[in-house]
Amino acid sequence: MDYFLTFGHSPWGQQILTHVSWNLMWASLFAGVAFLVAHASYMVLSAHRKRHPDETDAMEAARPDLPQRIKRHSGAARAFHWVMAASMFTLLLTAFLPIAGVKFAWVQWHWMAGVVLTTSILFHVIHASFWLDFWSIWVGPKDLPELRAEVMRELGHDIPGPKPGKYPLGNRLYHLALVVVGLSVIASGLTMMVRVRTALLPRNPYLFSDSTWGFVYVTHGVAGVALVGLVIAHVYFAVRPEKWWITKGMIVGWITRRQYLEHHDPQRWIVAGTGRRGSETQSL
C-alpha cells in the first residue's frame, strides 16, 4: 500500500492518510514515455492508411465555395489554450521538480499558477457555453461508428465511415480525460489553498478532519501525477508531423481548405457562410 499512498499519525495516535506516494509520479512519467515510444514505433512500422493526394484534390475541386483559410479557433479560444498551457506547465514543474530533487521555493508559484489555471478554465467554460458549439467537443454513444472507423483506418483498412466534425475523436477523448482530471486537481487545489498562506483566502487548517484532508491531498496528488502522463501525450501529439496542422491551427487560428476537407466531415463541421447547414450549425 505504501507504494501508492503514504500515511502518518495524528496527535491522537490515529493513522491518517497524508499523500499519494510520489512513486506514482515516476510511474506516470514512465507510462507517458512508454506510450510515446509505443505509438511512435507503431506509426513507423504500421500500415495505417494515408489518403492519396488525388482524393483530396478531388474534394477541393468539388468545394470551390469554401475559403482558402478555414477559421478553426477564435483569438479568445487560442488565448485561453496558451494561458492554460503556460499555467499547466508552471504547475507541473513547480509540483514535481522539487520531488525530482530540484529544490526551490515553489509553493507561491504553484498556487498562483493554479489561480491562473482556474480563472482560464472558468473563462473557457463561459466562452464555450455561449460563444462556441458547446457539444462539439464532447463524446457520446453517437461517436461509436466514428471510433470503429478510426480504429479500422489505423489498422490499414479503407473505411468510408464517418469522419470527425470540428474535433477529431482523439481530441474529444483527451478533452474528456482532462475535464475529469483537471476539475479534480482544481477543486482539490483550491481547497488546499486554505492550508497555506495566500492573499486570497483566510487560513483554516481545521476546515476538514485529518482524514478528509488526506482524501483531498490524495485526490490532488493522483490527478497531478495523471496530468504528467496526459501532458506528455498531448505534447507528443502536438509535435507529431501528421498532427502539426492541428497545432498550427491553435497558433494561427485557421487551417487550410485542403486540411478541412481531408480531415473533417463538412456535414458535421459546417463552415459559416457557405450556405450549407446541418445539425451542427456553429462552426467557429
Binding site: 503514504t6 502518518g8 499519525h9 495524528s10 496527535p11 491518517i16 497524508t18 499523500h19 522539487p98 529544490k103 526551490f104 521555493a105 515553489w106 509553493v107 507561491q108 492550508r195 497555506v196 498562506r197 487560513r203 483554516n204 487548517p205 481545521y206 485529518d210 484532508w213 488526506g214 491531498y217
Partner: protein, 337 residues
Amino acid sequence: MAVIRDVMPAFELFQPASSTDALSLLDRYGNDAWILGGGLDSFDWLKDRIKRPRYVIDLSGIDELKGIRERGGGIEIGAMTTLTEVVRHPVVRQRYAILMEAAEAAASPQIRNQGTIGGNVSQDTRCWYYRSGWSCYRAGGNICYADTPDSINREHAILGADRCVAVNPSDTAPALITLGASMVIRGGSGERIVDAEDYFIGPGTDITRMTVLRPGELLTAIRIPGDWAGATFYFEKIRDRQVWDFALVSVAAATVTAGETIQNMRLVVNAVAARPQRLIRVEEFVKGKPRNEATADAAGEMAIEGAQPLRFNAYKVPLMRNLVKRAIRGVGEWTTS
C-alpha cells in the same frame, strides 16, 4: 513534550577514523544512515524514538574534523570542534569575538563541552509539535500543527513561513553569516563550498530539511575569512532563562565605522524564521549613515517589515525591532577594536 525513554531503538554503530571512511559508509547506507556529531540533537531524536536509523555513523573518532587552523588570512574550524574549544581559542577571541560570544551563549557548559560547531549549525528545529513525531509538513505530512488557531506557538516564526513555522535554533549560525563564513561540504561527488548564508534553507525550498546538506554529504569544516576580523561586533540572544535555553530572538552584527559613520555592516537575526535572516535591506540602508538613535530607529522599523506573527509570538516583532536597534546603536557591544 515527548516522553524520553531510557532505551534507544537498536542500530548498528560505526566509528570511522577518517572522513573518507565516513563518506564511504554514508554512500553505502544512504537514507538509512544517521550522522552523529556531539549527539546533543541526535540523542533526543533517538531516545524519543521518533527517528529510528538503522546505521549510526559516529564522527567523534575523526581527528581531521577537529581543531581550529589559520588558513589564508582567516581560520578553518573543523566541524567536530566543540563549542568550548571555539570559545577558548585565542584567535577566535582576538579576531572573531562575535563567534566566541555566540558559541558561549549556546546551552550550558556541559553541553558546550560535548556539542560541536558542525552540530550547532546543522541541528534540527526545536518545534515541539515536529519533535513529538506527529505527521506535520516537516515530517512529511500535510499540516503544520504549530500554525492552527489554537496552537502553542510562542517560539515560532514571524518571517519566511511557508506552511511550516519552525525556526532555526542555532546560536553560532547568525555569527558565522555575519563573519562571511563558508561551509565545506564533502560528498560522493567531491567537495563543495557553500556560503554560510546559503547553507540554511527555508521550508519553501525544502520543508523537510534545515540545511543544504543532502543525504550522503558531510559538513567537514567552516572557513571564516579575515574580511570582518576585528570589526565592531554585537551579539545578543534573548531567551527565557540565561542558561540552557534556545533563543527567542538573537541578533548578530559586524560594523565598520569611520568616526560616527557606518561604512559597512552585516546584520543577521535568528529564531525568527526557519533559516537565519540576513537583513540586507537594513545593511544597505545604514551604510553611510551616522551610528545614532535615528538611524537605529529607522533600521529597526525596516527590519520587521513583512513580519507575520502567529497567535502567541507577536512579542517577537518588537523584540526583533529592538534588537536590531541595539545592534546598530552598539549598546553593550562586544568589540575587540
